[in-house]
Each structure stands twice: as structure tokens, then as C-alpha cells.
């Protein structure tokens, strides 16, 4: 499946965003949108490109986790 996976921003510093995907954490260095800690975001080509409403992201991730098990 081709899926856009939301991750939660848990830390922002001058040049990096730490994103929590529950199974993993990733560092991304660039965002084209304004984001704050706690936002759920979509990353494409190492760039934060979209925000996802929290409730939607949580339900979506729960569903994906079920698929993966």
C-alpha cells in the first residue's frame, strides 16, 4: 500500500524537527509549513509538507498499526 504516514512532532530546534512515529523517531531538517510541537505531520522527500488533525492522525495510526500486525 502507498500510505502517507502521520508522525507527531516532539521537538523543534533551530534546524531540526524530531518526529515520533511510535515505532521510531526521525529527524527532519525542513518544513514548508508552520508547525509547532504536538502537531501531526506528513513528510515527503525529507520535508514536512502537511499537517494532519490530531484526532484523525491518531485513528489513522491505530488502523495502520492493525494492518502491520
Amino acid at each position: 500500500m502507498c500510505l502517507a504516514i502521520p508522525g507527531k512532532i516532539i521537538e523543534i530546534s533551530e534546524d531540526k524537527f524530531i518526529i515520533d512515529y511510535e515505532t521510531d523517531k526521525r529527524i527532519v531538517n525542513f518544513s514548508v509549513i508552520n508547525v509547532v510541537v504536538g502537531d501531526y505531520v506528513i513528510v515527503s522527500n525529507k520535508i514536512i509538507v502537511n499537517k494532519v488533525p490530531k484526532e484523525e492522525a491518531i485513528r489513522y495510526l491505530e488502523m495502520i498499526n492493525k494492518f502491520e500486525k
Binding site: 500500500m1 502507498c2 500510505l3 502517507a4 504516514i5 502521520p6 508522525g7 512515529y21 515505532t23 521510531d24 526521525r26 525542513f30 514548508v32 506528513i42 513528510v43 515527503s44 522527500n45 525529507k46 520535508i47 509538507v49 502537511n50 494532519v52 484523525e56 485513528r59 489513522y60 488502523m63 495502520i64 494492518f67 502491520e68
Partner: protein
């Protein structure tokens, strides 16, 4: 700039597949090593070899079949989208939660209606045939484009200039 007919099978597979690499990494469908290699190549504007691409994007390869650039593009712009639109398999359940996330995965053609640069990265404002307006990131779009050009987009990233 390469025209539609000049692009190789490997290059078009690389371009469409690259925009899915972040998701594949999170889902552990590809290794960190393979992910890093993809972007090392992308940063150098080098196309990886066929064997590597076919291994990394094996799920798509199974569905594409024929080893031609036309078959790859046809797959992403048609069959790949049909699977999502028809809500086949797991998409049925995901669609109920977020149609937008499902639609985000679809590849499509759109016209550039504006271009801005953020830290040197082109961000295209695009309009799809449906009238929907979105942004597409052009970090790995290797073609020269301007307002009015049509590009293909996958997962919010510009893939290539579409020669009509």
C-alpha cells in the same frame, strides 16, 4: 531537460518511488541503508541501478509488470490511483478515517499556478483538473518548469514535467 519519450525506466521508477520512501521507511518496508542510498543518489541527481530500484520498490514492481518508462507512469497515474479510488483492500477502512490521507497518496497531473522558494526549495502552488489547489515540493524535480507547465505529483512531491 528530458522529454517524455527520453526518460528511462529506471529514472521514472526512481522519481515516483522516491516520494514514497519516507513512508516506506516508517513502515519498515525499506531499510535505513536503502533509504539513505536513495537520497544520496537523488541529491547527486544520479539514478540508481535497476536491480536496486526493483528490490526497494518491489511492491510496485509486482503490479507494474512491463519494464518500460511508459508502463511505470501508466501504473502510477492510473492503476495505482484506481486501487485507492475504488477503496480496495485496506483503503476501505482508511478512507472512512481520512479520505484526504488516501487521496494524498494518489499520483496526479496538475498545472503550476505559482512558484515560491523556501530556503532554496521550490514550492509549487498547483491546480488539478478537478480545480483542487495544493502545494507540491520540487526539491527533487529535475526538470526546469515555470508557471503554466503541467507536472506530475506523488505524495505532495513534484515528480516530473509532464509533456503533453
Amino acid at each position: 531537460m528530458k522529454s517524455k519519450t527520453q526518460i528511462s525506466y529506471e529514472e521514472i521508477l526512481f522519481r515516483y518511488g522516491l516520494s514514497c520512501a519516507d513512508n516506506l521507511l516508517v513502515l519498515k518496508k525499506i531499510s535505513q541503508k536503502d533509504y539513505d542510498r536513495l537520497f544520496e543518489n537523488a541529491d547527486k541527481r544520479e539514478v540508481p541501478d535497476k536491480e536496486f530500484l526493483q528490490r526497494v520498490f518491489s511492491a510496485a514492481i509486482k503490479r507494474i509488470g512491463e519494464e518500460t518508462a511508459q508502463a511505470v507512469e501508466k501504473y502510477f497515474l492510473e492503476k495505482h490511483n484506481t486501487i485507492i479510488e475504488n477503496r480496495e483492500g485496506d483503503y476501505a477502512r482508511l478512507w472512512k478515517i481520512s479520505p484526504k490521507r488516501c487521496l494524498e497518496c494518489m499520483a496526479g497531473k496538475a498545472v503550476i499556478i505559482g512558484i515560491e522558494y523556501k530556503m532554496g526549495v521550490p514550492v509549487y502552488n498547483v491546480r488539478y483538473e478537478s480545480g483542487k489547489e495544493e502545494i507540491a515540493i520540487g526539491k527533487y524535480l529535475w526538470d526546469e518548469v515555470k508557471v503554466g507547465d503541467t507536472i506530475t505529483i506523488h505524495n505532495n512531491s513534484a515528480v516530473r514535467k509532464y509533456e503533453i
